[in-house]
């Protein structure tokens, strides 16, 4: 078909027909937007429910206000005391501290080692670079079970497991971040992709001025990839904070339990006071939600960066 025939076709439509078609399309568009709003409400509702349940009395949990007699929209009694009671039931501040003891070195170590490695894969020519990069990235797809037992045996042999070990046996949870292992290879990939978008001419100019790789990395690359570093920091904080599989294996005493583990234990032991469990669930989720709200822009950018090039 050539262009002329389209023009003829459209000319055949009368004005009324076109506006009717337009109106129909607009109606469909509006309907779809309404639909996506409804879906969003459906997705947001459990979040609301989590906060709501953390604030109500036990009776409002079993008979929520919608189904109560007479029905209402908001719970009658708001009990902030659920939070303090919940915090008393687990050793909250100890566990918060435990979470931070793991998370802070994890995030900082992750930022340092992934950016350094990413720089090597993006900018330095060294033999077998492609092979090493492919191997490192392929660990992303590896099921964690296949390395589980030997890793445990290795850490035990090194004396890193158990509450009497260095850092109370927390080191096996931090070490993977220092060596871009167990899923952290993803950040190497992400940072490398970001570095590839930065023009090589910039470092070439610096090199002519006599700068080596270390200088280029610290003074030129790091400032330029700051947005990507923020993304890595946010993601690795959330990964580490939410970590459960390795925590339940390596953290072997109540003294070193993190908040996620504490929440798991209390869910298993006490099922009766759900409002207190929910209060704790809100508290454990709060840092992640807060970080998300602050860094929303970076999250979206980071996900785009990682997903598209995949």
């Amino acid at each position: 078909m050539n262009k002329g025939s389209y023009a003829d076709n459209t000319a055949l439509y009368s004005y009324g027909k076109l506006s009717r078609l337009n109106r129909r399309r607009k109606a469909i568009n509006t309907a779809l937007i309404v639909l996506v709003f409804l879906l969003a409400i459906l997705v947001a509702f459990p979040l609301y429910w989590m906060v709501r349940c953390s604030l109500v009395s036990k009776s409002a949990l079993t008979v929520p206000e919608y189904f109560a007699d007479p029905p209402g929209i908001f719970p009658k009694v708001i009990q902030w005391v659920n939070y303090t009671l919940g915090m008393e039931r687990i050793n909250f501040f100890q566990q918060l501290l435990n979470s931070l003891i793991i998370t802070i070195p994890y995030v900082l170590g992750n930022l340092l080692t992934t950016s350094v490695s990413a720089y090597a894969f993006a900018r330095i020519r060294f033999p077998l670079r492609g092979m090493w990069f492919a191997l490192v990235i392929s660990t992303m797809m590896l099921p964690c079970a296949v390395t589980l037992l030997p890793q445990y045996a290795m850490y035990t042999k090194m004396g890193l497991v158990g509450t009497d070990a260095i850092l109370g046996g927390r080191l096996p949870l931090i070490l993977p971040a220092l060596f871009c292992a167990s899923g952290n290879a993803y950040f190497v990939f992400l940072l490398r992709q970001f570095m590839m978008t930065i023009p090589v001419e910039i470092d070439e100019a610096a090199r002519i001025d006599g700068a080596g790789h270390i200088r280029i990395f610290i003074n030129i690359m790091l400032p330029l990839i700051r947005p990507a570093l923020i993304v890595v920091g946010l993601f690795s904080f959330i990964n580490c904070w939410n970590e459960f599989f390795y925590s339940i294996i390596y953290l072997q005493g109540e003294k070193v339990y993190t908040l996620t583990l504490g929440l798991y234990i209390i869910n298993g032991v006490h099922i009766t006071n759900y409002e207190q469990v929910m209060a704790l669930a809100v508290l454990v989720s709060a840092p992640c939600l807060l970080l998300f709200l602050i860094g929303n822009k970076y999250f979206v950018e980071g996900i785009k960066l990682s997903g598209i090039k995949g």
Binding site: V36, M141, Q151, I249, G307, I308
Partner: protein
């Protein structure tokens, strides 16, 4: 050694020294990643393969038994490997299907201009950052029986006037709980797909419109080919992560109740490695069997992705025709 071999090939004279120094610097910078790969991935993988051929007792003494562990996990139903594999694959496939369809639909719906679009995107993504433990506890509460505070069952009883559903104890309905959690936390995929949809060429969509194509044609011949690589990557990652479901199942019940329907492979391997005694060799064999299964599934998917390529090339020819 490798360094000198390569530099000899690519550089000469003075440059040789520089190239070698460059190579050494490269290895120095990449050290964390390479060392991490060797120490925390390659060595444990090889060792766990070795474990899987051994019988390991409580003291950690090993006895070479060849393929016996593998024979046992495939032939002895009391170990629970085959059932665990079945429920895991069932869960992973349905979960991935639901997630991909849901995310694609939401991304297509969000891919139009309207106010509060970014807010909606944030809402869809928000559940993905919450710890899985919190998510699982929340959904467990939502789907509990009415007396325990389960909102959905209260709704079923008081509004629909139907008997309540035992989501947590029924062998089939327990999957509803898991799928609900999966769908609730898949916001990352929505954001990725939505971002990819920005790359769909506007002029081609308009060309299909001019050709008299409907929404399905636009999707089939323009949108789908553009987002296909990303969609495929998301599919693979989704299957791999779904196969490794752990936290959700641990919160529901740490022993796979009801009737071992939630005794997923990671739960089983965790159980055999650390809770049961003298089953470490079996656990290693199971881990390698899982690794192979994932390898096979991804290879098959990659094969079909390649096999379907001529199909997705077709609209390109049409594109030429239109212009």
């Amino acid at each position: 050694m490798q360094t000198s071999a390569l530099t000899k090939r690519s550089f000469g004279g003075r440059k040789n020294i520089r190239g070698r120094r460059e190579g050494a610097t490269g290895y120095l910078f990449a050290f964390p990643a390479i060392f991490g790969f060797l120490l925390l991935t390659l060595y444990p993988m090889a060792t766990s393969l070795f474990y899987s051929f051994n019988k390991i007792d409580l003291q950690g003494n090993m006895e070479w038994v060849g393929l016996q562990n593998y024979v046992e996990i495939f032939s002895n139903p009391s170990i629970g490997f085959l059932k665990s594999m079945q429920v895991t694959i069932l869960y992973a496939f349905i979960n991935t299907f639901l997630i991909i369809v849901f995310c694609l639909v939401v991304a297509l719906l969000l891919n139009r201009k309207f106010r509060m679009r970014n807010l909606l995107r944030a809402i869809f993504y928000l559940p993905a950052v919450i710890p899985m433990i919190s998510t699982a506890i929340l959904w467990k509460l939502l789907l509990q029986n009415a007396a325990g505070g389960g909102l959905i069952n209260q709704f079923i009883m008081k509004v629909l006037h139907l008997p309540q559903l035992n989501f947590l104890t029924d062998v089939r309905l327990v999957f509803v709980v898991l799928f609900a959690m999966g769908l609730w936390t898949c916001g990352g995929t929505i954001v990725v797909l939505l971002a990819t949809l920005q790359d769909v060429p506007r002029n081609l969509i308009e060309a299909v419109e001019l050709d008299g194509g409907n929404a399905w044609h636009k999707f089939r011949y323009v949108t789908y080919p553009t987002i296909k690589p990303v969609l495929f990557f998301q599919l693979i990652m989704c299957i791999i992560t779904s196969m490794q479901v752990f936290t959700q199942s641990m919160v529901l019940s740490s022993n796979g109740a009801p009737n071992r329907m939630t005794y997923f492979i990671n739960i089983m391997i965790y159980d055999h490695s650390f809770k049961q005694s003298g089953m470490k060799g079996i656990a290693a064999a199971e881990a390698w069997a899982v690794f192979f299964t994932i390898l096979i599934i991804t290879s098959v998917l990659f094969y079909f992705q390649g096999a379907l390529r001529p199909d997705s090339d077709r609209p390109k020819k049409r594109r030429g025709g239109i212009k």
